[in-house]
C-alpha cells in the first residue's frame, strides 16, 4: 500500500463463501429456469414446475459451490462425480428422456406445421405416453447441462453476452413462431439477466476463495475491495428481482402479447426467412445451405449438395398391375422445366395462389394429349392399343406428388376439376390411387427426324432453354460425345447414353457440388461421376443444346424384381386389356422401395409427344469401398469416393457425414481467426500502452513504470520473485542473477525516493537509473529460455 505497509490477506470465511456461492447459483437458476421453462410454456408442454425448479436449484447450488472449494482439484472431482451421476441417470431414464425429447420435437413440429402451413411433417413415436413425466425428465436433463455450462461463465466472466448466447437461442424457436413464454418465466429470466448486468458492472463477480476477499481481480487498477459481501450481494439480487417483477406486472397491465403483436404491420423477418426455415424444417441443416436432401425418394428437382445416396430399401409404394415382364415401369412424379443452376424448377411458374392455368400445366405435364391419342387408338382397335389399370398405394413416398404410369388419363372429377388441389396435394400416406393408362408399345418411325426439321412452334420455349453459363460446357461435351446436327433424335439419344455408359461412372457417392458451382458444369467438367440426377440433368441440357425439346423427370422405376410374394385375388381382365408384348400375364403386387427412386429425361418426339429416354448408365465406379482408411477418408471427404451402388435408381437422400458438417468449419475457422486477430490486437495495444508509460514525459513516473514492468517480466521468469518484497531485496537479486544494476544501493535509493517521497530528484539521477533498468530489462530477455521468451512476448 506504501513502503512497508501491507494489506494482509483475510482468512477465508467459509460461511460467507457458502452464501455467496448460493447467491450466484440463484442467478444461474433464474436464467436456466426462465429459459427452459419459458420454452416449454411457450409450446404449452406440460411439466412439473416444482420438480424442475427443485432439481435446477439443487444442481445450481452444487455447481456453484464447486467454485468455492478450497482446492481446484476438488472442483474437478465434483465435475467427475456429476458426469458419472448424469450418465447413470440418463442411462436409467433413457426411455423417459427420449420420449420427452420426441414430445418436445413433435410439439415444435406441430406448431411449425400450422405456422408455416407445411404439407405435413413427420411425428416421432413416443414410447412412454405420459408427457407430463417425460417432458419433466427431459427438462431436468437439458437444464442440467445448461446449468453446468452457464455456471462456468457466470463464475469466470459474468458476461451478459455469453449468458445470452447460452440461454436465449432456445427461446428464439417459440418467439419465431409467435409464441410467448409465460409471464412468470419471462420475469424470472429477466431477473437473472439484470442480476448478471448488476454484478458484471461492479466487477465483484471475479472474486474467488483464493482471493480471500482482497484484492479484487479483473479491476484495471488493483484496489482493495470487500469482494465477498453476501449482504450487499443479496440486496442487489433482490433489487434486480423487484425491478423485473414490477416491470413485468406493470407491463402485463398495459399490454398483452396479442395486442403487442397487432401493433406491427409488417413482418420482414418472417417473410424473408420463412422459406429458409421451412427448408431447414423439411431438409435439416442442409436446407439452410442449398444442400438439399430428398425426402421419400424424391428430391423435387433439387440437385446441389447431395453428397451421397444411402437408400434404406424400405418400400415407398405398393403397385398392383399386370406383370411387366422384363421392362422397367416408369412412375412419373415431378417434371422439371427451367434449369436454375442447382435445381430444376417445376412447370408451375406462379407465386402465391394457384389458379385455373395450373390445370393446363398439369395436363401437359401428365401427358394428357398423348394419353387421349393412345386411348383413341385403343378404342379404335389399333393392333398395339392397350389399356391398363394400376393401383398405387403410398406407404412411404413423399406426399407432395402423384405417382402415375406413363400416358395415364386421370378422372376429371378427381384431378382436373379440383385444380386448386393439384398442388401440393399428392397421394397421402396410406392412400391408394387407381389409374387407367394407355401404354405406348410401338415406337417405330418415331424420333427419326433431325432437330432442324422439327416443328417446334407448339413447344414451350422453356424446354429448349439452356442457361448461358452452361452453353460452352455443353457445346464442348456435345463435341466430345460426337453429336452433330445431322443426327436424328434417336441417334442422339443413343450416343448420349452410350457415351455416359462408357465414360462416366455411376456412383451413389459423387460428393456434394461445391457451393457456387453449377451442378451440370461441375458434373461434366470436374467430377465426372454421379447418379441418375446428374446424368438426367446433363442429358436434358445436351438435348436442348442440340435443339431437341427435353425435360427432366423424377419418379420411381420398378421391374419384375420388385414383385412381392403377395398373392391377391386379382383378375387379369380387371387390370389389362389389349396388346401386351409376350402375351397375357398375371397381375402382381410390386413393392417399390426408395432405392427405385430415379431421374430420367423426356424428349419431344414429333407426331406423338413426349417420351422417356434413359441415359443413366449401368456401370458402377469400382473403387475400393472397404477398409478403415476408406471409412476415415470417406467421413471427411466424400468427393473423391466412389462405390458400388444401385444402377437402376438412386434415392436422393443425403446421409449424415462429416463433410456435411463442413459448414461448421467455416464459422469455426472464422471464429478462430477473429480470436487470433483479437489477441494480436490486444497484445499490441498492451505493448503500446506499456511503451507509452515507459516513455512518458514525467521522468519519475516513467522510471516507476519501467521498474514495474521489469518486475512483471521477472515474475514470468521466476514465479518465486514475489518473495523479494522490498526494492533493495529485488535489486540485490537482479544483481546476483544478471550482474545489473552496477550500483544497486544507488538505484534503490532513487527508486524509493521516486516511489514514496516527494523529494525533487535530479534529472541526471533519474536518467542514469532509467538506463540501468533498461539494461537490466535487456539482460532478462537475453537470459530467458525459449519458452519464457515466448511467454514474455505474449504477456
Amino acid at each position: 500500500m506504501m513502503d512497508g505497509l501491507y494489506l494482509k490477506p483475510q482468512r477465508t470465511n467459509g460461511r460467507q463463501l457458502f452464501y455467496h456461492g448460493c447467491l450466484r447459483s440463484l442467478i444461474v437458476f433464474c436464467i436456466v429456469f426462465g429459459s427452459v421453462g419459458g420454452f416449454l410454456s411457450a409450446f404449452e408442454l406440460p411439466f412439473s414446475m416444482l420438480a424442475v425448479a427443485f432439481f435446477y436449484l439443487l444442481l445450481s447450488v452444487y455447481a456453484s459451490l464447486l467454485y468455492t472449494a478450497p482446492k481446484v482439484y476438488y472442483r474437478d472431482i465434483g465435475y467427475v462425480v456429476f458426469f458419472v451421476l448424469f450418465l447413470g441417470m440418463i442411462y436409467l431414464l433413457r426411455d423417459l428422456a427420449n420420449s420427452g425429447l420426441y414430445e418436445v420435437v413433435n410439439a415444435v413440429l406441430r406448431l411449425a406445421e400450422t405456422f408455416f402451413d407445411l404439407p405435413g411433417v413427420r411425428e416421432y413415436q413416443v414410447r412412454i405416453d405420459n408427457p407430463f413425466l417425460t417432458v419433466t425428465v427431459l427438462a431436468v436433463f437439458a437444464g442440467m447441462l445448461e446449468i453446468l455450462v452457464l455456471n462456468i461463465w457466470i463464475y469466470v466472466t459474468m458476461g451478459i453476452g455469453w449468458t445470452l448466447m447460452i440461454s436465449f437461442p432456445l427461446l428464439l424457436i417459440p418467439l419465431y413462431m409467435k409464441r410467448t413464454p409465460d409471464l412468470f418465466f419471462s420475469f424470472v429470466l429477466t431477473g437473472g439477466y439484470l442480476s448478471v448486468l448488476f454484478f458484471k458492472a461492479n466487477g465483484h463477480f471475479a472474486s474467488y476463495p483464493a482471493d480471500n476477499g482482497i484484492p479484487m481481480r479483473k479491476f484495471q487498477k488493483k484496489m482493495p475491495g470487500y469482494t465477498q459481501d453476501r449482504q450487499s450481494f443479496a440486496a442487489v439480487f433482490v433489487t434486480a428481482v423487484l425491478i423485473c417483477a414490477m416491470t413485468a406486472v406493470l407491463l402485463s397491465g398495459l399490454t398483452t402479447p396479442t395486442r403487442f403483436e397487432h401493433r406491427f404491420r409488417r413482418d420482414e423477418l418472417r417473410s424473408r426467412s420463412s422459406e429458409t426455415i421451412v427448408n431447414f424444417l423439411m431438409l435439416g441443416f442442409a436446407g439452410l445451405f442449398n444442400w438439399y436432401d430428398a425426402t421419400g425418394g424424391m428430391s423435387g428437382g433439387k440437385l446441389g449438395g447431395v453428397a451421397r445416396i444411402r437408400p434404406d430399401n424400405q418400400v415407398d409404394l405398393y403397385v398392383t398391375c399386370v406383370s411387366c415382364g422384363g421392362d422397367a415401369v416408369y412412375l412419373k412424379a415431378f417434371t422439371g422445366g427451367r434449369y436454375a443452376g442447382n435445381e430444376w424448377q417445376d412447370l408451375y411458374e406462379h407465386e402465391g395462389k394457384r389458379d385455373e392455368r395450373d390445370a393446363d400445366v398439369f395436363a401437359a405435364e401428365s401427358l394428357r394429349a398423348e394419353a387421349e391419342a393412345l386411348k383413341d387408338a385403343y378404342e379404335d382397335g389399333a393392333p398395339d392399343g392397350a389399356c391398363g389399370r394400376m393401383d398405387i398405394k403410398n406407404v412411404g413416398a413423399d406426399e407432395h406428388y402423384l405417382y402415375y404410369p406413363y400416358y395415364t388419363l386421370m378422372d376429371d372429377d378427381t384431378i382436373y376439376d379440383r385444380y386448386d388441389m393439384i398442388l401440393p396435394e399428392g397421394i397421402s400416406l396410406w392412400e391408394e390411387a387407381r389409374y387407367r393408362y394407355y401404354p405406348k408399345q410401338n415406337w417405330r418411325g418415331l424420333g427419326e427426324s433431325r432437330p432442324s426439321e422439327m416443328d417446334l412452334t407448339q413447344i414451350d420455349p422453356v424446354f429448349l432453354d439452356v442457361p448461358a453459363q452452361n452453353q460452352d460446357v455443353l457445346a464442348a461435351e456435345c463435341a466430345r460425345i460426337g453429336l452433330t446436327a445431322d443426327m436424328s433424335e434417336n441417334q442422339i439419344a443413343r450416343e448420349i447414353a452410350s457415351y455416359f455408359d462408357e465414360n462416366i461412372p455411376y456412383t451413389l457417392r459423387p460428393g456434394a457440388t461445391p457451393q457456387g458451382e453449377d451442378f451440370v458444369n461441375y458434373f461434366l467438367t470436374k467430377n465426372r461421376r454421379g447418379y441418375c440426377a446428374h446424368f438426367a440433368s446433363a442429358a436434358t441440357l445436351i438435348f436442348r443444346q442440340m435443339g431437341i425439346p427435353a425435360r427432366y423427370v423424377e419418379g420411381y422405376v420398378f421391374t419384375e424384381e420388385n414383385a412381392t410374394e403377395s398373392v391377391g385375388e386379382y383378375r387379369y381382365e380387371d387390370y389389362y386389356d389389349g396388346y401386351l408384348p409376350g402375351g397375357e400375364t398375371v397381375v402382381r403386387e410390386y413393392g417399390v422401395t426408395d432405392a427405385m427412386a430415379h431421374a430420367w429425361v423426356e424428349i419431344y418426339v414429333p407426331d406423338f409427344g413426349w417420351r422417356v429416354v434413359e441415359v443413366t448408365p449401368g456401370n458402377v465406379d469400382a473403387e475400393e469401398s472397404e477398409g478403415l482408411w476408406y471409412a476415415i477418408a470417406n467421413a471427411f471427404n466424400e468427393r473423391d469416393m466412389g462405390t458400388a451402388g444401385d444402377a437402376v435408381g438412386g434415392k436422393l437422400f443425403r446421409a449424415f457425414t462429416m463433410s456435411g458438417l463442413a459448414w461448421l468449419l467455416y464459422p469455426a475457422l472464422l471464429f478462430l481467426a477473429a480470436l487470433i486477430v483479437l489477441r494480436i490486437g490486444q497484445l499490441t495495444v498492451r505493448k503500446l500502452r506499456r511503451y507509452a508509460r515507459r516513455h512518458q514525459k514525467n521522468e519519475r513516473e516513467a522510471l516507476i513504470a519501467c521498474y514495474e514492468q521489469l518486475c512483471e517480466m521477472e515474475r514470468i521468469c521466476d514465479p518465486g520473485f514475489d518473495r523479494y518484497r522490498s526494492h533493495r531485496e529485488q535489486l540485490l537479486r537482479y544483481r546476483r542473477n544478471y550482474g545489473l544494476p552496477t550500483e544497486p544501493k544507488q538505484v534503490c535509493a532513487i527508486l524509493e525516493e521516486a516511489s514514496f517521497s516527494r523529494h525533487v530528484l535530479p534529472p541526471e539521477a533519474l536518467y542514469e537509473t532509467y538506463t540501468e533498468l533498461r539494461g537490466l530489462r535487456k539482460a532478462i530477455g537475453r537470459n530467458a529460455d525459449m519458452r519464457t521468451k515466448v511467454r514474455l512476448l505474449l504477456r
Binding site: 439477466y193 458492472a201 423485473c244 406493470l250 407491463l251 403483436e261
Partner: protein, 352 residues
C-alpha cells in the same frame, strides 16, 4: 474506463434487444426493453438518494503499535436507506511522514441497505513511524456502473508505529554500562536530584518535573530542570541521519532495546539526537518507561533524514570529555565495547 465499458455494453445490449423485439415482435423482449429502460433510472435515483444520507468514517487504533504488528483499518459506512450499493470508491492517501513515504489507493466498499456497515482490513506496517490515512472524496457508482456521483470527504486518522527491540540487559552488563549512572528512586518523595534551573515547558518534559505552583502563578507550564546527585548521568547519542533504505528502523530497534534495558536497570540517561523537524540537537532526559515511551512517540513526529548529520562529532564538540553511548551505524572501526543490532547497526560506548 470501466464506466465507459459498462455504458457501451448497456447500449449494445439495448440495441440488440430492440432489434430482436422488432424483428420477432417479441413480447418477452418488450419486457427486457422496459427493464433495460427502467433499471438505469431506478439505479440513478437510488445512488442520488443514497448520496444524501451516506456517511463514512474510518479509524486506526488509537494506541501506539509496534513495527510488524497487525492492526486494522476500520471503515464504518452508514446507509439509512433500503438501497444497496456495491460500488463506493473511497480514495485514500496513506503516508508515513517519518520516512516521507506515500501511497494513494482506492478502496472499493460495499454499502449495505438500511444499516451500518463495518468493514475492517488487516494491515501490517513493517517500518516504524506514523501511519496517516486521509480520504478526500468518495465516489458512488450506481448498480449498473453507468453513473458516478462524487462526494467530498474530510476524514483523517493516524496511528503510531514504534520500534520494538529485544531487551539488551545482558549485553549492557557485558559492556560495563551497569552502574554508570545514578539509580533513580521512583518512589514518591524520594527524589535526590537537584533543581538546576526552571524553564518553560517543552514537549517531552516529564509530568513530575512540572513546577505546579510556579505554573499557576505565571499562567503557563514551568518545568524544573534537574541534575542528578551523581553528576554522571549517561548520555545516549542517537544517529537518526544518513538513513539508508530504512536502516534507521534497525537503529531505532536497537535504541529501543537498549533504552528499555536502561530503564529496567533504573539508570537515568539523556538522549541526544538531531531533530530534522527542529533542525537542531534535542536532549531528552529519561528516567522511567513512561518517559521513554513519550520520547519514542515524540520521535515519530520527527522526520528521518537521508543526509548524515554526524551527531557524534557535534556531541563531542558541544560536550567535550563526556562519556556517551552512541547508537547508530556500524562503521567497523569501533575499538570500544559494542552491542550489535541488525543491518550493521551498533551501540558503541565512548569513554570521556
Amino acid at each position: 474506463m470501466r464506466q465507459i465499458r459498462n455504458i457501451v455494453r448497456y447500449v449494445v445490449l439495448f440495441l440488440l434487444n430492440l432489434y430482436v423485439m422488432l424483428a420477432f415482435h417479441s413480447y418477452l423482449n418488450l419486457i427486457f426493453l422496459v427493464v433495460l429502460l427502467a433499471a438505469p433510472i431506478v439505479s440513478l435515483l437510488a445512488v442520488w438518494v443514497l448520496s444524501l444520507g451516506f456517511q463514512i468514517s474510518f479509524g486506526l487504533p488509537k494506541e501506539a503499535l509496534t513495527a510488524g504488528e497487525e492492526f486494522c483499518l476500520c471503515f464504518q459506512i452508514e446507509n439509512p436507506y433500503h438501497i444497496p450499493l456495491v460500488n463506493a470508491y473511497v480514495r485514500v492517501k496513506l503516508s508515513n511522514p517519518f520516512y516521507g513515504s506515500e501511497g494513494v489507493h482506492t478502496w472499493n466498499l460495499p454499502v449495505r441497505a438500511g444499516r451500518r456497515t463495518k468493514l475492517s482490513y488487516p494491515l501490517v506496517m513493517e517500518h516504524c513511524g506514523r501511519v496517516v490515512i486521509r480520504a478526500d472524496e468518495v465516489v458512488f457508482m450506481d448498480l449498473l456502473g453507468l453513473f458516478r456521483w462524487k462526494k467530498k470527504l474530510d476524514a483523517k486518522s493516524e496511528c503510531l508505529i514504534l520500534p520494538h527491540g529485544n531487551l539488551r540487559a545482558q549485553e549492557m552488563e557485558r559492556t560495563g554500562l551497569h552502574g554508570e549512572s545514578e539509580p533513580a528512586g521512583n518512589e514518591k518523595g524520594y527524589d535526590f536530584s537537584e533543581v538546576s534551573d526552571i524553564r518553560e515547558y517543552r514537549p517531552g518534559d516529564l509530568l513530575k518535573d512540572i513546577h505546579w505552583k510556579l505554573s499557576v502563578k505565571k499562567d503557563e507550564l514551568m518545568v524544573k530542570e534537574r541534575i542528578g546527585l551523581a553528576d554522571q548521568r549517561l548520555n545516549v547519542v542517537l544517529e537518526l541521519g544518513g538513513d539508508d533504505s530504512f536502516r534507521l528502523d534497525a537503529v531505532l530497534t536497537l535504541a529501543d532495546g537498549i533504552t528499555r534495558a536502561l530503564v529496567q536497570e533504573k539508570l537515568l540517561f539523556t538522549l541526544f539526537y538531531y531533530s530534522t523537524a527542529q533542525d537542531k540537537i534535542c536532549e531528552f532526559p529519561i528516567s522511567d518507561e513512561a518517559g521513554r515511551r513519550q520520547w519514542l512517540k515524540l520521535l515519530m513526529y520527527d522526520r528521518a533524514d537521508s543526509r548524515s548529520r554526524y551527531i557524534r562529532n557535534i556531541f563531542e564538540n558541544e560536550h567535550p570529555g563526556s562519556a556517551y553511548l552512541y547508537i547508530g551505524y556500524d562503521d567497523g572501526n569501533a575499538k570500544e565495547p559494542v552491542i550489535y543490532g541488525e543491518q550493521r547497526t551498533a551501540a558503541v560506548l565512548v569513554e570521556g
